[in-house]
């Protein structure tokens, strides 16, 4: 039962990503070419609703299902790592048309070529961990 809620949330996530076509390489290309509102609508709606929700949680000090106060971890300060890391991520995102979530949704959908992307994404994260101390942050 402990895991069930996360499994179900994951299933909902997978279905939403697939049905909204957010897992499609074509949609990501269309987004980076600014030729349709589709992806901006999906992400924009999530952010606007998300921001309202976060504000409400903070305002009313809403608690989670265990009764613990909900706290949002602020991101560490910085600029270089976010811009550079983000740009490297963006290169990969535009190439395979998938970010980490959609990679695995695609695998479930039957695009098994994404297994290669997934394996190498893990390798990429390993490389980051390996060189972390030598990189400027």
């Amino acid at each position: 039962m402990k895991w069930m809620k996360f499994l179900l949330t994951g299933i909902a996530f997978g279905i939403v990503m697939a049905k909204s076509e957010a897992i499609s390489w074509f949609r990501i290309q269309e987004m980076f070419r600014f030729q349709a509102f589709h992806m901006y609508g999906i992400i924009g709606t999530a952010v606007v609703l998300g921001a309202i929700g976060v504000a409400l949680i903070k305002q009313y000090r809403i608690r989670d299902f265990k009764g613990n106060p909900i706290q949002f971890q602020p991101k560490e300060k910085g600029f270089f790592r976010y811009l550079t890391g983000g740009a490297i991520f963006g290169l990969g995102w535009a190439l395979s048309g998938a970010c980490p979530g959609p990679i695995v949704v695609n695998i479930g959908y039957g695009f098994f070529a994404m297994i290669i992307v997934f394996i190498f994404a893990n390798a990429g994260t390993f490389l980051y961990g390996y060189f972390k101390d030598k990189l400027p942050h």
């Binding site: 996360f6 390489w25 991101k75 976010y82 890391g85 991520f89 963006g90 990969g92 979530g101 990429g124």
Partner: protein
Amino acid sequence: MIAAIMFSLVFFGQSFGFSSNLRTICAAIGLGKKVKFFDFDWRSNSWNLVFLVGAIIGGFIARQFLSEPGAAVQISSATVEDLARLGIGAPTSLQPDELFGWEAVFSVKGFLVLAVSGLLIGFGTRYAAGCTSGHAISGLSNLQWPSLVAVVGFFIGGLIMTFLILPLIFKQ
């Protein structure tokens, strides 16, 4: 819907950020012995791996039960024209065969495209401390400056790939 998923995870005492799983998997296969970055209690992130498994099942359900066979993505005609110039045909499904079909996967170029893309995604996402879900959705929802910087970074990289590198890779 995505916001609802984010708040479900928040309500369950966690947070919405998919790419942490990549680090968790590196830790779970024992890389923590070699590299300190992966030496942490990865079991505390098991919930996110369960979420990942759910996402795979969700993709399967969407394909099996919720979609019409042969349904193509209705992208704008401007994009179809642009992609045709790269030698990529109009959509016949969710993904182009030119990248994800078996023929592409088993060619050197096609394999490299997928592998390099994976490396960039995995490396960049940890360097930037988050991906689309962690930064663009969770981070921007919480009005975090670093997330806005990261999203600007996503677009810098994405635009360079789309307009400068893709034409080189798929040169006719």
